[in-house]
Subunit: 134 residues, 2 copies
DNA sequence: AATACTATTAGGAATGGTTCCTATTCCTAA
DNA sequence: TTAGGAATAGGAACCATTCCTAATAGTATT
């Protein structure tokens, strides 16, 4: 492990939430000011491929990298765009009942209005919600 | 509706599966040889925003557009990339048991190896599967 | 400590999918 | 038959990511 790799790994493993490569780079540069984005990407993907961290690929914004915790699902606030972790327990078993082939993995995103956004304003017309994610 | 719009709409609504903008363009050009990709995108997104077709945004490849407006889930073959529709019955109710906020919508993609790909070759090392989608 | 070899890096170019911009064309109604 | 607005073609711009390459750092061997 190089110094930069160690730094990147610690940044991800000490973070609570989802970090983009860009955000990781900012922190890496506190100790390695010349570090480049491609180095961050390369190493993040190395860790992800090795199963040490998790990469969350998103259609509508940059990928997120996060600590490898339990496999989990995501909730996406349709108002502020914030992503939160959650775990729907027993979901894989539930899916297996209906899906006859072996499941490699699955990705679930629940679109909702988070409590903060819900508190701020009256509930909105659900048809106004555009651009669902996958 | 312009001729091109009619053409695009019919191409999507007559297709069985999921089409990318590029694939739509190829068919549009059979009748409108000068049609451009931006026109296809613009109109596909207009239809999607109007709720007439469904846009499936993917992290790892081009977006797909499809005619099926019923809420449904998708299975994605990690070998050939083909997307198929499926419906996991009762999934929303299942999610509601664990998720305490009102659910606007959700997106589920199951990554698997489709029967055709599974038949061709020996089953593979599941750790070799990279690039999950969201 | 000099050498050689390998792995890693910085930096930027290239890529792919999508959106944006703008001048031109097409409709439509008066 | 002309004026206004909408839609188009074409390509530039955009963003996140990957790829390329020369330079550098690390390691092992002598």
């Amino acid at each position: 492990m190089t110094q930069i790799q160690t730094s990147i790994y610690h940044i991800i493993s000490q973070s609570n939430g989802h970090m983009t490569a860009e955000q990781v780079l900012l922190l890496v540069r506190q100790t390695h000011p010349t570090a480049s984005l491609s180095t961050v990407y390369r190493n993040l993907n190395l860790f992800a491929d090795a199963g040490q961290i998790r990469r969350i690929q998103r259609a509508t914004s940059a990928d997120y990298y996060e600590r490898n915790l339990q496999p989990h699902d995501h909730a996406h606030c349709v108002k502020c765009g914030k992503m939160s972790d959650l775990t729907i327990t027993g979901l894989k078993d539930f899916l297996r009942k209906d899906f006859q082939y072996p499941i490699c993995s699955f990705e679930l995103v629940i679109n909702y209005v988070c409590p903060e956004c819900a508190g701020k304003q009256a509930p909105k017309d659900p048809t106004a919600i555009k651009g669902g994610m996958l």
